[in-house]
Amino acid sequence: MRNLRLAFALILLWLLVLGTAAGIPWSAAWSPRAMVALNGQDFRPLVGVGVEDGTSLGIGAVATEGYALQTTSLERLRAADMPILRYHFEDFPRTLELVLVFRRADAPGDVQTAAMPWPGDGSVVVDLRAASKAWRGEITELGFAEYPTTQLVPPSIAFRPFRLVDVGLQSVAWNAAPPLLLSGWFGYRPWSQASINVVAQGAEGSASMPLALALGGALTFGLLAWLRREWRARLPRLALLVAMSMWVALDVCGLDDLWTKHKLTTSIYSGKSWQERARLQPDEDVAGFAQLTRQYVAAAGSGQRVLVASDSVFKMLRLIYFLLPLNAAPLDSALSDVPVPSWPADTAIVICASKIWYYDDATSTLRAGAKILPVTPLFIGGELGVYRLRQAAP
């Protein structure tokens, strides 16, 4: 009887802890009061190529812009009534990331977006109240966009065909708690540039697993110490046992996260030589710019300085890294530190993916606001321009 009481108390405690972590209010019903179910065929491919495949929508190709988008119209659905989203894809490639797109009645010209956990082959459930602050008002259009995972996957190999099977929206209910926590804590989130600073696991905006387990563990310890008098003499050991259990639970989640991240790396790079892997850069466009630039500047060791500018700091720094061992540095820091007349006469200037910097053919100058550099163009094509500084005669 005592054991039964203890088990019941523990189950109740963890239901409350996990339910709270899942964001389910105590007053919520067990099953949803309102639901909207959509099949894949209800969505129209706006960008990319899609065909109906039974009740699903098969996405066979992305557009030249490198992404695909499918949407469906909704009849003024109240966001607050339907915050739980469930989606089901099949064969969704690990190399793509999924973004929810929706439009609100109060802002018909704006497209709202929210990053979604990778769908894999099963259903994923997300609480849109936590995933996006924009999920409010009345929703008139809903859809999904698929992109190559940013800064991680080379766009040229990112796409493979997949199917959108079905999508559901429902009101908050207790039976959504387990799948919400599963995708919240165990959902796949790819490596990002922020990963080196902060470990992000599961769905964005989901409740903190360490916080939930720390509180759950503390409450479990208190409950066990309260209900089992004979254990009170060994409280430290009990506390350590509970703490270790919580730690192991967190670690299982951490290992799962590491493993799923590693599967993407494996899918891109496994079985390839280093030369092949080196070519598979996530920013293969910038790597291409570097190759092109080399053809127009002097070889490393010549003493020529190469100054690089781009509207994107990431692209600028990546281009400098790809250009090594060419003697390259950011153009902006050169401009702020050294007056242009002091620059070496053969200085090369590389402008990559920039709308701020432009070449003025009439005056043969590079311009960005008040900054003007007299140059001779060596190559201009697409998003790349390579120039040589033209110093005024003394």
Partner: protein, 484 residues
């Protein structure tokens, strides 16, 4: 992997482990793990130093240039260390065998299996991908890639000096001033691999993780943890998510700082508790290495050296010395616009609500609530540290008597409290608050002291009856060694 690359690994590891064997003639518990752990890490850093000194003219063949020097140094250092340790004529301490139950032992085995599984994922991830994280290619690998592909060393200078001197073989970049120790290690491995092959150049980060865990296991054993507890704590350390990320996405210097600071604290603790002068030398070597890894290493070096100095003083002198030093700093700060000399970080200027630290910049002083929230979230809410910071407070409170009773643990706690205090001050009271609010640096800086924090918690939870036997009685601190 070529034979040359494997040979380069062998030489680098042997250069560290052989002298470590020489230093550890006594058969203390965990000796092999200590020797291997410290040996791997210090061997790699020694390799970087020798490469920097001997291979500047021919970086493409850096490992061929540096290997003979490294071997000669290793052999000499091993002989010297062995000779000095033999002369010390120390008795070999021993520990009781483990007397733990079935379940803890099973838990330790499962923990070990989990670490091996994690290690295999990390190694595979590292060996597959090109360098990924931002500062790894933007800051830390720029010099090494330049030097290796250029074929020789070239100085990195500020842009103002670089651009006008066109003829000079100078380079520049956003991270021109960063320490280059880790970079020279990459040059060594690139030259052995025969090309700039990023996974092979980054593989030392995996060896670093292995060395970190082995070194901590060995030293914890030597400091009195039984095998099961030591294994469980190795699991706790090895399972910390942010540490694993820094291996999988190799290229940052923070894990190096964390490892060397942790090693330094462990070696110092062994000197404090067992009076082993070789460990004191090791602690000082670790402290000296820290500034060569990263700028922040100077701060940790100063705190570690200050603690070592404090620990060497007779207890009655400690507080007096600390108060005099604190008063000196306070006066310097209060006077305003005064200068306080901090060894290698240059002049630290303090004025009204301004602190000017050369390696960091000018920081205005004010309270930043979002940064405080950011720190709390980093430690307790995000998945960076599992439950480490949740458990640290309760364990210290629970073992408060042990902490008070042990001179060395008390000093260790003081050191870590001081380090945490510095971080909290930096992030909550200065402009560096943005790094905590955006979570860009706060966790990486906390990581620097994390292995040492795990050490403190492990030693607080060691069984008092198996505290290690002191191995030297002729010199050292003028008090009986601790028996925590």
């Amino acid at each position: 992997m070529t034979t040359a690359y494997l040979l380069a690994w062998f030489v680098a590891i042997a250069a560290g482990t052989l002298p470590m064997f020489g230093l550890s003639v006594s058969m203390h518990a965990g000796r092999t793990a200590t020797v291997c752990g410290y040996g791997i890490v210090l061997g790699m850093l020694l390799t970087a130093a020798v490469t920097a000194l001997t291979a500047r003219a021919d970086t493409a063949q850096a490992w061929v240039q540096a290997a003979p020097w490294l071997v000669a140094f290793a052999v000499t250092a091993t002989a010297a260390a062995y000779w000095m340790q033999r002369r010390a004529g120390r008795a070999a301490p021993s520990l009781d065998g483990d007397d733990v139950g079935y379940w803890p032992r099973l838990a330790a085995i499962v923990a070990l299996a989990s670490l091996i599984w994690r290690g295999s994922i990390l190694a595979s991830e590292l060996l597959l991908r090109p360098t990924f994280p931002w500062d790894a290619w933007d800051a830390w690998a720029v010099k090494s890639k330049t030097w290796y592909l250029l074929g020789h060393y070239a100085a990195f200078v500020p842009p103002a000096e670089w651009l006008p001197r066109a003829g000079a073989d100078l380079y520049s970049g956003p991270a021109w001033a960063y320490p280059s120790t880790v970079g020279w290690l990459q040059v060594w491995f690139a030259s052995a691999a025969g090309d700039w092959i990023e996974p092979l150049v980054n593989l030392p980060w995996f060896a670093l993780w292995v060395g970190l865990l082995l070194g901590h296991y060995g030293q914890w054993r030597a400091l009195g943890l039984d095998r099961t507890r030591a294994l469980i704590f190795v699991y706790l350390l090895g399972s910390l998510p942010l540490l694993a990320v820094h291996v999988a996405l190799a290229g940052y210097a923070d894990l190096w700082v964390a490892t060397i600071f942790g090693f330094g604290v462990l070696a110092w603790l062994r000197w404090q508790e067992q009076g082993d002068r070789a460990q004191l030398a090791l602690a000082l070597i670790c402290a000296a290495i820290l500034p060569s890894l990263k700028f922040e290493g100077m701060i940790w070096c100063l705190t570690l050296v200050a603690t070592i100095g404090l620990g060497a003083l007779p207890p009655r002198w400690r507080w007096r010395s600390a108060l005099i030093a604190a008063a000196g700093l306070l006066i310097a700060a209060v006077i305003g616009q005064s200068h306080a000399l901090f060894a290698a970080i240059g002049w630290v200027r303090s004025g009204t609500r301004i602190v000017d630290v050369p390696v960091i910049g000018s920081l205005s002083l004010s309270w930043h609530t979002p940064a405080a929230v950011g720190i709390a979230r980093s430690l307790f809410v995000q998945s960076n540290w599992h439950l480490l910071w949740w458990l640290a407070g309760p364990i210290v409170a629970w073992r408060w008597r042990s902490l008070r009773a042990s001179d060395s643990l008390g000093l260790c706690a003081l050191l870590l409290l001081g380090c945490l205090g510095l971080l909290v001050f930096l992030f909550v009271f200065t402009d560096a608050a943005g790094w905590a609010e955006s979570y860009t640096a706060v966790n990486r800086l906390v990581m620097h002291i994390t292995p040492a924090v795990v050490t403190l918690l492990a030693l607080l939870l060691r069984e008092p009856r198996v505290a290690p036997i002191p191995i030297r009685t002729d010199a050292g601190p003028d008090r009986p060694p601790d028996r925590a």
